[in-house]
Symmetry: C2
DNA sequence: CTTCACGATAACTTTTTCTAATGACAAATC
DNA sequence: GATTTGTCATTAGAAAAAGTTATCGTGAAG
C-alpha cells in the first residue's frame, strides 16, 4: 500500500508548474524547506526522481512528466469531491430509494417524480411500491431511505412527518346517485367492498365502520382501488376510496361519489425514515416536494 | 482548497466496504478510535454525513454512496502512481526525446526504434534529427533528454558514453575500382566532396586530411551522404562516408568503397545527456540498446 | 574571485495522528 | 426488566509528521 499524501501531490503540482522551489512554496503558503522536504519524501517513496535540479532551473524528468499528468487528474477529482459535498449540503444528491403504498402511488407518484426532477435534478429516484409492513421492514434494514405511508406507523426507530390529510369518500353505483349518504351504522349493513388483507386502507375503512379487522368479511376483496370501483360500477356493492383517487378511478365507471359527514372519515399520509439517517434535512425537503405535489394535484382537480 | 487526505479516503473506503468501524480499522492496521476520528473529520470537512450509524450497523448515506464511487476511482489512480513509479525504476517510461545527428539517423534509427519498442514497450520516443551544435543547445535547455552524436562533445555539463567506433571509408567511382586506395596526402589532391558546413562528419573528414576546416573548399557541398555518393557515382569526385552508411548508400550507385590503412580514419559515436538528469541509469540502458542495435546492424551486413 | 540565487539540511516547534482506556447506548440475553 | 454484549464516541497522553527559522553548499553571473 502506497503512502503518498495529497499534500505531497499538491506540492508536486505546484513545483512542476512553477519550476522553482521558492515560488512553488509561496504558492502553497509554506516555506521553501517544507516543500523541499515533501518533494524529497515523495521521490523517496516512489523510488524515482521526479525533478531534475539544475543550478538555474528545476525541470520535470521524463517520468515526472508522466507523473504530472496523472497527478493533475487525481487532484482535479479530489477537488470535485469537495464540490460534490458542497452541492449535497443544499439538497439531496445521489440516490433516493422511496417506498410508497399502493393506495397512494398511482395518484401521486407521477407528479412527485416530475417535481423532484425539477427541484432535485440528477437525483436518482428509485420507487418501491408495496404494503406498509414490507416498507417498514425494508426501511429498517436500510434498503429504503424513506417511505410515503398512512400515519401513524408508530415505529420508535422512525421519524414521521405528516404531509396531508384527505377524506375518504363513498363510491356507489350511479343508480344510488340521488340517495342520501349513509352514516357509518347504515354503511355497516351494506355490501362493503374492501382491499385485500394487508392494505392499511382496508383497516382504516373497517375502523371507520367499527368493524374489527380480524372479522372475516363476506365481501370480495379487491387487489386495487381500481378493481373495487369497477366492481361497484357493476352493481356489486359500495366501497370507500381516498379522495385523491377519485379523479382517476371514477372517470370511466358508472359510479358516483358521496361525502360522509359527522363523522367524516379521513386518513393522514406522511413520510417516514430512520431516525438515524443523517440526511434528515434533505428528507424534510423531499417531504416538502411531496406536499407541494399533493397541493398541485388538488388545485388541478379539486377546485 | 480542500484539505482531504488520502488516509481519510482509505479509511472511508475500508469502512464503506466493511460496514463496521472495528473491522475496518483492523483492515487498515489502526485502532478503532483512530479510524473513527478520521471519518469524523472527513465528514466535518465535507460538511455532510457519509455514514448512518445505526446501533447494529454502519451504512453509507445516499451521498456516501455517490462519494464512495468517486473515492474508489481516485484511490485506484493513486495506487497506479506507485505502480508506475515501480515500473519506471527498472526502465525508462513516459517520453524519451532523443537527438540524433544526420550522419547516423538514417542508418541506425530504424533499428534503434524497433529495439526500443521491444525493450521499452510503450515508451514514447521522440526523435530530433539535426546538427550537433543545435542538439547540444536543445539538450542544455532541457528540450531533449539525450543525443546520439560523434564524440567528443566536450560539454562539461554533459555525461558522455561511447557506443561504438567505426571506420570512415572512401567512396569513389566504379571506374577507379582497381586503383590503390590513396593515402591522406594523395587524397588532399583529389576532388573531395563534403557535407555542408556544420556537420561534424565534414570536420572529421577534413581533419583526417589535415585541412583546416576554416579553409573554403572548392568542391560542392552536399546536404546528405546520399547526395555525396550520387555525385561520386556521376564521376564528380570522391568522398568519405562512415562505414555504417555503406550498405544503404552504395547500393544503388556505381561506386566502390575503399578502406584506408595506416592511418585509418575513424569516428566514435556516443550518447550524451545532462549530468543533472537523474535518470542516468535509464539512459545508460538506452545507450545499451543503441549499442546492441549497431551490433546487430554489423552482424547483418558486415560479416 | 566575489557575490548572488537557490535548493538542501539541521534544530527546534507546532500540528496531526495514533494508542489505550473508558464512556454511552441500544440490542440481545437471561 | 436487569444484565451482558457489541459497537461507536470520547479523552488524555504518546508518537509521528509537517512546519519554521537559520544556515550551508554550490554553480552561475558580475
Amino acid at each position: 500500500m502506497t503512502n503518498l499524501t495529497i499534500r505531497q501531490l499538491r506540492y508536486f503540482e505546484a513545483l512542476a508548474s512553477h519550476g522553482h522551489f521558492g515560488r512553488a512554496a509561496e504558492a502553497c503558503s509554506v516555506t521553501q524547506p517544507a516543500l523541499s522536504v515533501q518533494i524529497k519524501e515523495l521521490e523517496e517513496e516512489l523510488g524515482t526522481k521526479l525533478f531534475e535540479r539544475g543550478a538555474r532551473q528545476v525541470r520535470l524528468t521524463g517520468f515526472g512528466e508522466e507523473f504530472a499528468l496523472r497527478v493533475q487528474d487525481i487532484l482535479r477529482r479530489v477537488d470535485e469531491l469537495g464540490d460534490l459535498a458542497r452541492a449535497s449540503t443544499e439538497k439531496m444528491v445521489g440516490r433516493l430509494r422511496l417506498g410508497v403504498i399502493p393506495t397512494i402511488a398511482p395518484y401521486l407518484l407521477p407528479r412527485i417524480i416530475a417535481n423532484l426532477g425539477h427541484s432535485h435534478h440528477g437525483l436518482d429516484v428509485h420507487i418501491r411500491e408495496t404494503l406498509t409492513p414490507r416498507l417498514v421492514q425494508e426501511l429498517s434494514e436500510g434498503r429504503l431511505d424513506a417511505a410515503i405511508v398512512a400515519l401513524p406507523v408508530s415505529e420508535p426507530a422512525f421519524t414521521e412527518v405528516a404531509i396531508f390529510t384527505e377524506k375518504m369518500v363513498l363510491v356507489r353505483s350511479d343508480a344510488d346517485a340521488g340517495k342520501p349518504v349513509p352514516n357509518k351504522e347504515e354503511l355497516r349493513e351494506m355490501r362493503l367492498l374492501l382491499l385485500e388483507e394487508g392494505h392499511c386502507f382496508r383497516d382504516q375503512a373497517l375502523s371507520f365502520c367499527n368493524i374489527p379487522s380480524s372479522l372475516p368479511q363476506e365481501g370480495l376483496d379487491g387487489s386495487s382501488l381500481s378493481t373495487l370501483v369497477q366492481m361497484v360500477g357493476a352493481g356489486i356493492g359500495v366501497t370507500l376510496i381516498p379522495e385523491m383517487a377519485v379523479p382517476v378511478e371514477t372517470r370511466s365507471a358508472s359510479v358516483c361519489v358521496g361525502h360522509f359527514k359527522n363523522p367524516q372519515p379521513t386518513r393522514t399520509v406522511g413520510m417516514v425514515w430512520r431516525k438515524t439517517n443523517p440526511l434528515a434535512d434533505h428528507l424534510h425537503q423531499i417531504a416538502a416536494v411531496v406536499r407541494q405535489s399533493t397541493d398541485e394535484l388538488r388545485a388541478d382537480e379539486g377546485v
